[in-house]
Amino acid sequence: MGTTYGREQVPALEVREISRSFGSLRALDRVDLTLRTGEVHALVGENGAGKSTLAKIVAGSLRPDIGVMRLFGEPFRPRSRSEGAAAGVAYVRQQLSLVRGLTLAENLQLGRPGATPMFEPTRAAQELQEVSERFGLRLHPDHLIDDLPLAERQKAEIVMAVAWGAGVLLLDEPSSALGPQEVDALLHLCSSLRDSGVAILFISHRLREIAAIADRVTVLRQGRVMASAVEVAEFDPHEIATLMIGDLPVSTRGRPVPKQGTVRLEANGLQVRVPHGPGLRGVSLSVRGGEIVGVVGVAGSGQDELAQVLTGLIHPDVGRVSIDGNDVTGSARGAMEAGVSYLPGDRSDGLALELSVADNVTAKRPTDPRLARHGLRLPKAIRDFARTLLVSFEVRPPVPEMPARLLSGGNQQKLLAARELETTPSVLVAVGPTKGLDPVATKVMRDRIFDVATRGGAVVVISADMDEVLDLAHRVVVLSAGDVTDEFPAWECTPARLGAAMAGITA
């Protein structure tokens, strides 16, 4: 694999005791990391583990609360991403930074940190040629960024960063939107870069790729380093997966099992093509009344698409969705009339933030005779109705007239629940329902979700929170890159099985 360097070599990057909090959320807790020149060092962890936060701090877009960094032995305290870039740290994210509307040559010359805005076509073309050859790519100077497929754009951005003098490359989930061959090409490029002395921090949760390319691995969980600089020879994917997810509570089901009725939600062969990412590649799901199915998987495996298809907001390219026997494929209205409630992963999908809290919470029942007469809304009745609902769902402050955007994230979540769970739905699709909620509110929300099942509803909980899934679900379905890779009853769930399935390794 990579060449080994002696201990005299100054490490490319040293991170010591870096900590960073966002309000009460401790995103990074005394993280130490050493990145050597000429190595691919993988940083793995679940969503929310702190990987991107650490990358942003190293890149300079974010400042740490405490801790120090050294770049090639010198103190490193970038105050902005461009300062970091000027010092030689390049941060390549999923939202690529190459400028659309310009050609590759233009980007190369004009994007260099500290460049003067004077474009010299011949020199730029030459430079591009050199750097393409160096890494075995075929980049044409006159190609517009817009015309290149994503994988090519990404590789172009990477080599340009190196051409601009980057000694440290931070790749944040570089393979998440790539197909298998594109991933291979990317890994090949990383290998060449490593051999030429670049230090690469490869942030990913895809253990298979990491096993293929990394020299050493560091595992982050909830902001802490769980395993530091594990040599690839000692790399055991299952063990890494366990470290990523942590120990699961042994007995997680204190809840009585509701009686399960007939199948209420049925989805067959769902396929959804999306511009970036795997989409859905043939997902089938059936959920009975009284049953809670937990859908788990790393972010970007198709969870959002699944939720939107099940609620009728997206029409799948292939496949059917039916509720209580009624076909509601691609019909949001049909789904609503069939009694679907939806707690979206992104709150702003489910709330009209500029409208009042009262408007939001009554949006599903504007024609209710208590709230409107002869087609005209009754403001006072709406306010009173809303206030009762707000209090019972513990939305604070329970002020109906307030614009919804003034509520905190957790209270917005409760507002969503107030609207969607006010009457018992036939089907509930909940994505990350307790995100942003404190422990007490989390318990209440989970109890409410469980309640839906007790009353005969079919529930799908799509969540990245293992504790949550195991608390609620009777059955666990694992989604990976748009496919269902594993499915098992909740009591058969082990961290290793779960972690492996999530990382794309089927047990």
Binding site: T311, G350, L351, E354, K364, P366, R377
Partner: protein
């Protein structure tokens, strides 16, 4: 307080310009005020100019609240005027009630139809409605030009205009000694209907669509019906404004029948914060400035262009304060783009 401050600033800059051009600012402003509200005729002028602005403003507000940025009122007004003229000529014999209603209905239908193609293009094919409605304004202008050169031009007339409308079609005057006509009542009715609309359930659902179309779809709002519906309403009201101009004010159809009123209506909607009272206030303000401006030109001998600049400065100074209080559709940036587009497209032409 901030409102007064920014208006004072606008007036001060205007005064400076007037002074630099060699005019007495105080006399000029006084003339402006007299022209807007200083006599019975002036008040009539202000009201009669405000009416079509208010009607159009109402229609466009409803659409903007839904997140649909239609700026086709200019063309829809023209087509409404054409429809009214055709109906009036066809029903020239009839009792006035019939002729007037016929022209009204024709104007509404023509206006709505003119909006229908952009509406379908947006609803089905996601064609940007700012573009399509703007282009349709040009179509309407050319169509009008053709109609006035050939079919509708009486042989006796050397210039492109229609014959005078038959008496049965003309709207009775509302206030003797002014140009105020019955058509103004229609504008008032439209504003009243708008006030009801914003408190209604369908109005709420349409607004919800404008705020968050995903949420609206989840609660069962149909995107197609919403988009097409609001564009037809905007077209209908703009068409009716065209009827009002032709049957009430100008009494014949000619090329400058619109002269920027359609675009000003869009500005009125945005300036009025997409709310009923705001639209009424904005239309009165704009009408007052126009009426005052014309009077100022005539009596204080201010050149028309300078008068336009002064009007614009005052408008701007109001807008600067009203901006933050704009009813915030989620795409309020889009509303402002639509307003800018319409201001550029409808650079004020000399109206009557």
């Amino acid at each position: 307080m901030i409102v007064l401050g920014s208006v004072a600033l606008g007036l001060a800059v205007g005064a400076l310009l007037l002074r630099l051009a060699g005019h007495d600012p105080v006399a000029s402003y006084a003339a402006m005020v007299r022209g807007a509200v200083g006599s019975r005729f002036a008040i009539g002028e202000t009201l009669v100019r405000a009416a079509p602005l208010a009607a159009i403003g109402v229609g466009v507000s409803i659409a903007l609240r839904a997140g649909v940025f239609t700026i086709g009122s200019e063309g829809q007004l023209v087509m409404g005027a054409v429809g009214a003229t055709l109906a009036a000529l066809w029903l020239r014999e009839g009792p006035p009630f019939l002729t007037i209603s016929g022209a009204f209905v024709a104007a509404a239908v023509f206006g709505a139809l003119w909006a229908s193609l952009p509406a379908v293009l947006r609803a089905r094919f996601e064609v940007n409605e700012i573009l399509s409605t703007l282009l349709f304004n040009y179509f309407a202008a050319y169509l009008l030009g053709y109609l006035l050169r050939e079919p509708l031009k009486p042989p006796s007339s050397p210039i492109s205009q229609s014959e005078v409308l038959p008496p049965a079609a003309l709207l009775p005057s509302l206030l003797p000694g002014t140009r105020l006509h019955v058509g103004v009542l229609v504008a008032i009715a439209a504003a009243g209907a708008f006030a009801l609309w914003v408190r209604s359930v369908p109005g709420f659902r349409v607004d919800l669509f404008g705020q968050n179309s995903t949420l609206a779809r989840h609660v069962g709002v149909s995107p197609t019906w919403t988009i097409v519906g609001v564009m037809l309403v905007a077209g209908l009201l703009s068409g009716v404004a065209g009827w009002s101009q032709v049957a009430g004010l100008h009494r014949r159809l000619y090329v400058e029948v619109a002269s920027g009123v359609g675009y000003l209506g869009v500005l009125v909607a945005v300036l009025g914060g997409l709310r009923p009272l705001g639209v009424i206030a904005a239309s009165l303000l704009m009408a007052a400035l126009q009426a005052g401006g014309v009077f100022m030109e005539q009596t204080a001998h201010i050149p028309a262009t300078l008068s336009d600049v002064v009007q614009a400065l005052i408008l701007l100074s109001f807008a600067a304060r009203l901006g933050p209080r704009l009813w915030r559709p989620r795409a309020s940036a889009g509303a402002e783009i639509a307003a800018e587009e319409s201001a550029v497209a409808g650079a004020p032409t000399r109206g009557t």
